[in-house]
């Protein structure tokens, strides 16, 4: 299985995301923001960092990168896409996920290990977990406060599209403690904390992050076995 990791100018965690995908057992393909081609990958990770220096708003410029136009179409066709931190911001700016990420309510950059509760284990990126499972992965953001109008929040809850919530303290003021959400089809997931930083005992607080990457491999294997490769035919 080939997982693509996109590098934008200002991406920071593309190396760790690629490493995490490799540890999970994937073949990693590095994708470049200026290249519209997805090079036949089966899934894509939009990594954390500060694409385009966070100019204007986080993710606002990256959304118009050549790779994003292709990726948006592929994501609507079912390609699994995981946006981590800045990647989550880009997915919201690209309208692939609802809502927006805004300045942390306390205005401080928050950098710590964070407990989350996985609320949905039915997405392409969380099927290795069980609903209700508590996991520990690092959070590090300045603009991670998730906001959406009440109707959208209610809809997300009703559809089971809140993928993970902060527990034991909300690090940024996110509404309803939301740490991760998914689209209607469950193939696109945005998460503010960093699973790619929790895949090895030497550097992470746990190995809990690995589950996101093994999940997508399992989802892809299931899709292939069923003769229905996620991502559509037009890649």
């Amino acid at each position: 299985m080939r997982i693509g990791v996109v590098t934008f100018p200002g991406s920071l965690d593309d190396g760790d995301a690629a490493r995490a995908a490799r540890i999970a057992g994937a073949e990693v393909v590095r994708l470049w923001h200026g290249d519209a081609g997805l090079h036949g990958v089966d899934a894509v990770v939009l990594p954390g960092g500060f694409s385009y220096g966070d100019a204007l708003r986080c993710g606002a410029i990256a959304r118009f990168a050549p790779v994003m136009e292709t990726l948006a179409d592929a994501a609507r066709g079912g390609l699994p896409v995981l946006g981590i931190c800045n990647g989550f911001q880009i997915l919201c700016e690209a309208h692939l996920l609802p809502g927006a990420l805004t300045r942390n309510q306390h205005l401080h950059f928050r950098n710590r290990d964070q407990f989350l509760r996985v609320e949905s284990a039915s997405t392409a990126w969380t099927n290795a977990f069980t609903a209700g499972q508590e996991i520990l992965i690092p959070v590090k953001n300045g603009e991670g406060c998730y906001v959406a109008d009440e109707h959208t929040l209610d809809q997300l809850e009703a559809d089971g599209r809140v993928v993970a919530r902060y527990t034991r303290g909300n690090p940024n003021g996110s509404q309803r403690d939301i740490a991760a959400i998914t689209n209607e089809a469950g193939n696109v997931v945005g998460i503010m904390p960093h699973p790619e930083h929790a895949v090895e005992a030497l550097t992470g607080p746990s190995l809990d992050g690995l589950g996101f990457f093994t999940s997508v491999l399992r989802a892809l294997a299931g899709a292939t076995a069923g003769g229905q490769l996620a991502g559509g035919q037009d890649r």
Binding site: P98, A100, T102
Partner: protein, 86 residues
């Protein structure tokens, strides 16, 4: 030459922690008469030809503002008019 000015503000219902931080600092200036501060962004656009409001609106809607959390207002500033007193 005229330029188009786009003012972008957070929607009223979106919390503005930056504005709150400024408001909270004002008493240290001896100012106690301010009840609220909200911070936005002013963007000046110059067109090569005549200013095109429709295009400016499209730029504002698609890029300069995020309609999920922000409102924008577009105006044209005529530079031949006398400058405002600072």
């Amino acid at each position: 030459m005229a330029r188009v000015v786009v003012d972008v503000m957070l929607k009223p219902e979106i919390l503005d922690p930056q504005g709150q931080a400024v408001a909270n600092a004002l008493p240290r200036l001896g100012v106690n008469s301010v009840s609220s501060v909200r911070i936005g962004r002013r963007i000046e656009i110059e067109f090569a030809e005549e200013p095109d409001l429709d295009t400016a609106r499209e730029i504002a809607d698609k890029l300069l503002a995020n309609p999920v959390i922000e409102d924008f207002h577009i105006s044209i500033v005529d530079e031949s008019a006398p400058a405002e007193v600072a």
